[in-house]
């Protein structure tokens, strides 16, 4: 077996881990709660290790797509030609970073779910299926499997939120599921049309990408179906005005699901825009990107403004996610390499940062059973470590230099100013608003007069939560201080995309 083949198996086994975890837990009796947790932790750690390995093993300067593995699934049957559908996995620089993100967030979410006591068996099965869907989407280089895993990541959410959620969970779960699957409907229609238009008799993404670039998929078709993919994926990336599931869904979701959902799942949407929009339909992208820029900017400003007016922790984070994903969409819409690189960095940065924020909110809510800002005050006195972690997340959110948010947003702003100076100005305005809502929260909740109601009722974060938080904080700091490993990998791939300017 050559080195490259062996690398392919690493990718395959990373995808297999969460499914294996779900399968093993399926056969553990529901009453053996500790066994279920240890199995989950074991696999989470393994996945974290594999993800870090995949990220570091990605060769800067090598082929754009590395660690490939391809198994024919269905071929030479009916409308499918050779390699019609194959389990074709591999990573490029963008996927490498996203895989790292998934590993970190899934690990942290597992630790946080340790104290979950209501039907942990069902919870972890669904949770690992969700994670498998996320990994699969990042790895897949076959349109059929890409969509397969994309849908797979959405399926378990209804039950995860509906059963284990809190505030208005049924409403939130139903709204979220319907909106996300509604987005998939558009993708599905787009897939049928593009497969038909390309006429290659294969779902292989690399061949389809080539067909999109050399005009086999004609210009008009590209223009018509680009919005299908971008709006379809955009729903998951909280593209304004299709973002409304995000605040409700996040408010309802249990902590670990919020973490994975805001941390990783929303990135699937932006990732889909890269894979199916920019890479598959470059001419459609060229035509429609100004539109995406407008919507992204509205999302960034609107999300930040809405977060200013909210009083519920989770709603603030929900809207702040809309705002940050707005930056991601802006970065993608610039169609220049620094902007898109920034967008991908922001996907990572927002992922770890939001996961940390939801972790902290969960730690507080589990004890206080309220998330209203006005119920708190002077929390720093009773939960010092909690405040430290939350502050770091908040500052990354605002874009403080030295943390990941700065690196990402800086790239995006530079990219935006290059092509759309006006929108660049608006983006910076949104960042200023972010400082507004974060600092307001700091002053009201963390400091200020201590609310005696919480005396002896709030305890600081548990060691497990501490470990989870440190993993997230570490990745934020590394990316903020030494971003070369991140930017090199991403821009290595981004500069090779068709239609992307210097």
């Amino acid at each position: 077996m050559s080195y490259d083949e062996a690398q392919g198996y690493v990718v395959l086994s990373t995808l297999a881990q969460p499914l294996l975890a779900a399968l093993i837990i399926l056969f553990i009796p529901a009453t053996r709660k500790m066994a279920i947790r240890y199995v989950s932790l074991f696999f989470a750690t393994l996945m974290l290790g594999l993800s870090v390995y995949i990220f570091t093993a990605y060769q800067i300067g090598g082929d754009s797509i590395q660690m490939e593995i391809s198994w024919a699934w269905v071929e030479n049957t009916a409308f499918l030609g050779p390699r019609g559908i194959s389990l074709h996995l591999g990573i490029d620089g963008i996927a490498a970073l996203m895989v790292l993100l998934t590993g970190i967030v899934a690990f942290a979410a597992t630790l946080v779910s340790w104290k979950l006591d209501y039907r942990p068996k069902d919870f972890f099965i669904l949770f690992w299926v969700l994670v498998a869907g996320v990994y699969g989407t990042f790895f897949a280089l076959d349109l059929f499997f890409w969509f397969f895993f994309y849908e797979l990541a959405v399926v378990p959410l209804y039950l995860l939120i509906g059963v284990w959620g809190s505030t208005r969970k049924e409403y939130g779960a139903m709204k979220l599921t319907l909106m996300l699957v509604g987005g998939s409907v558009l993708i599905w229609i787009g897939i049928f049309a593009i497969f038909n238009a390309a006429g290659l008799h294969t779902f292989d993404l690399q061949q389809l990408w080539a067909a999109g670039a050399d005009g086999t998929i004609d210009r008009n078709t590209q223009k018509i179906f680009f919005p299908f993919f971008v709006i379809g994926c955009g729903v998951l990336a909280a593209l304004w005005p299709f973002h409304t599931w995000s605040p409700d869904g996040h408010m309802a979701a249990p902590t670990a699901v919020s973490m994975v959902h805001a941390g990783v799942l929303m990135k699937l949407g932006a990732f889909g825009i890269i894979r199916l929009g920019i890479q598959l339909l470059p001419e459609g992208a060229e035509f429609w990107m100004p539109g995406l820029m407008v919507l992204g900017t509205i999302g960034a400003v609107y999300g930040a403004a809405a977060a200013l007016t909210q009083r519920d922790f989770k709603l603030i984070s929900g809207y702040s996610s809309v705002s940050h994903m707005g930056y991601v969409l802006m970065g993608l819409a610039t169609m220049n390499s620094i902007g898109i690189t920034g967008a991908v960095l922001q996907m990572f940065s927002h992922g770890v940062m939001t996961a940390l924020v939801f972790l902290m909110i969960g730690a507080l809510y589990d004890q206080a059973h309220t998330r209203d800002l006005r119920d708190f005050g002077g929390i720093a006195k009773v939960m010092p470590w909690w405040v430290v972690c939350y502050t770091i997340a908040g500052l990354a959110n605002v874009g403080l230099p030295g943390l990941s948010g700065f690196t990402a947003e800086f790239h995006i702003f530079v990219g935006t100013f290059e092509t759309y100076p006006l929108f660049g100005g608006l983006a910076i305005f949104a960042a200023a608003l972010a400082a507004g809502y974060m600092l307001r929260m700091f002053s009201v909740v963390f400091f200020g007069p201590f609310n005696p109601r919480w005396k002896d009722r709030l305890h600081d974060i548990t060691p497990l939560e501490g470990v989870a938080a440190s993993a997230l904080i570490a990745s934020m700091v590394v990316m903020g201080v030494w971003w070369a490993p991140f930017t090199d990998r991403v821009s290595h791939t981004v500069t090779q995309l068709v239609g992307v300017t210097g």
Partner: protein, 497 residues
């Protein structure tokens, strides 16, 4: 070559013989345990399938040009045998103390299956009609088998009256086609239609429409669906499963054989009607399903929606070239298999649950995840399969079916179908909401399943997963099954522009 090869129907002799034997057995031993008859039916089904296996891949043989045994027929033999085996096993527990006698019930299951196989094998309109009536009459009685239950009797009466009406339409259509083409043989019709001057003849168009209406009634396409929710609700639970799998598969067997060989020549005259029918069927089926409180009615409307998706393929046969027709037909056969297995899995779970709790409403499933997690899992898997979510058969088969049917003219219909499968997810989630989000009603504790039900449900669930995860071999198998439809007279068929 022997023009009357009686031996090609050996599997059917086994089925018919078993039907007679089962009826006779209860006459001779009136005191025998009725479950035994159910198990015997299941055994007969398995024997039927084994006998059918010997016909796979052999040369196509016809009996007098009326009935043809080829891979297509054999595919429906397997389907019929499988459905009867599962229904027989489900009925064994369900019908235990529901009716005084049971032998006719099981005998009729087998004759209904025979009707379906003959519908698939028919290459002549009158034979096809008689086969369809064999299926229909068996079903009329089966639906009304619970004589003391007013709903069951009402359902049966409605079904018979509307069924008779649709038979009349079908017959009128057949006679019109015969009047124009001077033949009732599929080949003869195709030749006559091809030789005819181009140009629309009202008799041909009306004939096609009446045939579509007649078969459309059988598969419960809107607007010929009125009988189906009532029949589903009134029928015994296993018969509801039987209706939603066997009678639909049978209708599509007839559709496929007739439309691909006999009247594809004149596709311009009927394809718009099928596309329209598909659109109305899927929209109305799914929209009406949303407001259903009764689980059987919900499934009735959801299966009407499924018929809408399947009709897309028939429309594609009309709109596309031969290549598209063949691909779409094989994808349809795969979808029918996936849909059948998912439906049977769902009904296995519902029957097992009903046997224990007596509930068959949506509300009645409340807290199922607590009282019987395994059944809850089966319900989830089959409903997600209907909705077309990945890992389950529905995702793959629907994707194949719609992809194979995609032509420029039909893009709107494909889009509509995808939107509809999104609508369907909503009402499936409403069912799962009861299963997972609520506590079980007071007094209902966790219970154990009989091993038979557990094994059957598990097996069917594995089938759903197998098609969903690794569809390759299944897809190749159905491609062989579609082959015979497109070899006959391929040179003859010159499509109108």
């Amino acid at each position: 070559m022997d023009s009357r090869p009686y031996w090609i129907f050996i599997p059917e002799y086994i089925a018919a013989g078993s039907a007679v034997a089962i009826v006779a057995l209860e006459l001779i031993f009136p005191k025998m345990r009725r479950e035994l008859l159910g198990y015997m039916t299941a055994v007969a089904g398995i024997a039927w399938a084994i006998a059918a296996a010997f016909y796979v891949g052999h040369d196509d043989r016809t009996y007098q040009g009326l009935l043809q045994v080829d891979n297509f027929t054999t595919y429906f033999r397997f389907l019929a045998a499988g459905i009867i085996t599962v229904t027989g096993l489900l009925s064994a527990t369900y019908m235990k103390d529901k009716a005084k006698t049971a032998s006719e019930y099981y005998g009729l299951l087998l004759t209904a299956g025979l009707g379906m196989v003959l519908m698939a094998a028919s290459r002549e309109l009158i034979t096809a009609y008689i086969s369809l009536e064999l299926l229909s009459f068996s079903l009329y009685i089966l639906v009304g088998y619970l004589k003391k239950d007013a709903l069951s009797s009402e359902a049966s009466l409605k079904y018979i009256l509307l069924g008779a009406f649709s038979s009349a339409m079908l017959l009128y259509g057949i006679s019109l086609i015969y009047g124009v083409t001077q033949s009732t043989h599929y080949d003869g019709i195709a030749q006559a239609l091809a030789a005819r001057d181009s140009g629309t003849t009202p008799a041909v168009v009306v004939g096609f429409m009446l045939i579509i209406a007649g078969v459309g009634f059988k598969v419960a396409a809107v607007p010929f669906h009125m009988w189906s929710p009532d029949a589903y609700e009134g029928a015994p639970l296993p018969i509801t499963a039987f209706l939603s799998t066997l009678s639909k598969a049978a209708g599509f067997a007839l559709f496929l054989r007739l439309f691909t060989t006999a009247i594809v020549v004149d596709a311009v005259e009927w394809r718009w009607a099928i596309a329209l029918l598909a659109a109305i069927t899927m929209v109305l089926g799914n929209v009406l399903a949303i407001q259903q409180k009764n689980l059987k009615r919900l499934i009735a409307y959801s299966s009407i929606g499924q018929v809408g998706y399947m009709l897309v393929v028939i429309a594609a046969i009309g709109y596309g070239d031969q290549e598209i027709g063949r691909n779409a037909s094989s994808a349809l056969l795969l979808h029918i298999a996936g849909y059948t297995i998912s439906t049977l899995a769902l009904f296995t779970a519902l029957t097992a649950y009903y046997n224990k709790t007596g509930h068959d409403t949506v509300e009645g499933l409340r807290g199922m995840a607590e009282t019987q997690p395994f059944l809850a899992l089966i319900v989830t898997v089959s409903l997600f399969s209907f909705a077309g979510l990945p890992f389950f058969a529905g995702f793959t088969t629907k994707l194949f079916m719609f992809q194979a049917s995609t032509t420029d003219e039909l893009m709107w219909l494909i889009g509509l179908a995808v939107v509809n499968s999104f609508v369907s997810l909503y009402y499936y989630l409403m069912v799962l909401r009861q299963v997972y989000l609520f506590d079980p009603p007071a007094g209902l504790a966790r219970f154990k399943l009989p091993p038979l039900m557990m094994g059957l449900g598990g097996l069917l669930m594995l089938g759903v997963l197998a098609i969903g995860i690794y569809p390759g071999p299944f897809f190749e198998a159905v491609e062989h099954a579609t082959q015979p439809l497109y070899q006959q007279g391929a040179d003859l068929i010159v499509k109108n522009p």
